[in-house]
Amino acid sequence: MKKIEAIVRLQCFDEVRDALAMIGVEFFSLKEVKGYGLQKGETMVYRGSIYGKDYIARLQIDILATDEKADQIVKTILTSARTGEVGDGKVFVLDVEQVYRIRNGETGENAL
């Protein structure tokens, strides 16, 4: 099983979620993160001084999936989260040893 971590733009989230739903993925966890990278935050003005935030707010989507499904999920994210501008984010895939569903203790693929 794989854990897919995708870091995407806030404004792309809706599209990603809908695209995932289309391929049957309706289960995931969402985290708010601050992204440091090529793209910086908005320029702000306060009392005559300009300043910017180093970071930009982003969302991290964590999805657990079977090895087969993982590839399709990654592809779906790559398409639905792309604007083509610098700052679109990344997708990482990690290996997961075991998954448990707390409700009934099921493990492995059944637990997804």
């Binding site: 806030l10 404004q11 989230f13 809706d14 979620r17 969402l30 708010e32 908005e42 320029t43 702000m44 003005v45 306060y46 707010a57 969302l59």
Partner: protein
């Protein structure tokens, strides 16, 4: 008239002016509470500018358009730019039969004027461009409001006809409401508010702020209605206080009961609007009603609110703060109520009231629609979709209302409220 009575009378109208001033804070807080946090700086900025524009243009133009002091019964008049105190005692004790001075007259009326724009401000929140909105405000408050105001309060044709509007259910509130209606028709709804799946509520970001706003509006309304007696007359002003307070209380109760029946919910935003509905409703006849009649008017206003909110939603007219329900619909209701309840009730009066509402409504709506339409096809009145998503605080002000707190994803993603 002796000097002491004059001093006391004038004192009351001055204090009433200060109370009406507080209503601008009330509106600012209410509207800020009812928008999303990403649009908070923008709405506050607009409300600060409106009070500035309102006072300055009323000084330059509005006061002398609204009270031109020509022959009674007219449609339009203008007494010249700026203010000038009448010579001698005419500016003081003799100016208004010992009710107040020339300066008091101006400041009390000027505080009223800006209100009509503040009402529009709430309805168009979260999507209008700042520049065109400010231009609209300048024109609306310096031309439209005083012209229709003159028809009644400036001794114009509606006054001669017999139309009655004590403190402005129509002249102030419905006028603001008609302006708001024209604006939201041309502007369209906020992204994500109406989808194929139905109506998608976009809850305000800070309900305590909204509640503070409503309490302050009520507070100021004692000056709005009480000051409209135009003297400190003990009997008249104190009756107005009683009818105003009881109508507001009944408005709360009416919307509490109705929302519970309709939606099985105890919706704070509804009882807050119900309270304001009761206040707007009593405004046209606050000096004519018995306490029991005031309660009836307020209670009915409170019942109207939830229905009206749902109606505007069904019509796909998006009004984030409920300004059209509170000020337009309850303003009309309150004006009609003068023909149904109280000292003037009667068929003929109902007729006068309808003529008043219709003529003022037609003028105001047309004026606002034309101005907004011209702005729309020239400068554009709506921010870009991307800016709406980001929020007007960043897009128009490069600021954030709460810069050191985390921003919830709700602020960005359209479909998750």
């Amino acid at each position: 008239m002796n000097e002491a009575l004059f001093t006391a009378n004038n004192l009351w109208i001055m204090i009433a002016a200060v109370l009406v001033f507080v209503m601008h804070l009330g509106f600012a807080a209410l509207e800020a509470g009812f928008v999303r946090r990403k649009n908070t700086v923008n709405i506050l900025f607009k409300n600060v500018m409106i009070i500035s524009i309102g006072l300055l243009t009323y000084y330059i133009l509005g006061f002398n358009l609204m009270y031109p002091g020509g022959d009674p019964g007219g449609f339009f008049g203008f007494a010249g730019f700026g203010l000038s105190m009448p010579e001698g005692a005419a500016g003081l004790i003799e100016y208004a039969d010992g009710g107040y001075t020339y300066w008091t007259d101006f400041i009390f009326q000027a505080m009223f004027a800006a209100t009509c724009c503040t009402i529009v401000s709430g309805a168009v929140a979260e999507r209008i461009k700042l520049g065109p909105f400010l231009i609209f405000c300048v024109l609306f408050v310096s031309l439209s409001y005083p012209i229709t105001g003159m028809w009644k309060w400036g001794a114009g044709w509606l006054d001669e006809l017999g139309f009655y509007d004590f403190a402005g259910s129509t002249l102030v509130h419905a006028v603001g409401g008609f302006g708001a209606l024209a604006a939201i028709i041309l502007l369209g709804a906020r992204k994500g508010k109406f989808t194929k799946e139905g109506i998608n509520p976009i809850p305000g970001h800070n309900l305590p702020l909204a509640a503070i706003g409503v309490f302050l509006l009520w507070f100021g309304w004692f000056g709005f209605n009480g000051g409209s007696v135009l003297s400190g007359d003990a009997g008249a002003v104190s009756l107005v206080f009683v009818t105003t307070a009881l109508s507001a209380a009944a408005g709360i109760m009416g919307s509490f009961v109705t929302s519970y029946i309709l939606f099985k919910s105890h919706d704070l935003s509804m009882v807050l609007n119900g309270c304001l509905g009761g206040l707007v409703g009593i405004t046209a006849g606050a000096d004519l009603m018995s306490p029991m009649e005031a309660i009836a008017i307020g209670f009915i206003a409170g019942i109207i609110i939830p229905f009206s909110v749902v109606m505007f939603d069904r019509l796909r007219l998006d009004d984030p703060v409920g300004a059209t329900s509170v000020h337009l619909i309850c303003g009309i209701w309150g004006t009609l109520a003068v023909g149904l309840f109280g000292d003037l009730a009667g068929i003929a009066q109902i007729g006068y009231q309808i003529i008043g509402i219709a003529s003022i409504g037609a003028f105001t709506f047309t004026f606002a629609f034309i101005v907004m339409y011209v702005l729309k096809i020239t400068m554009g009145i709506r921010v870009s979709e991307e800016d709406e998503l980001k929020g007007l605080d960043i897009a128009e002000h490069e600021m954030s209302a709460y810069p050191d707190t985390n921003i919830g994803v709700e602020n960005y993603a359209m479909s998750i409220q």
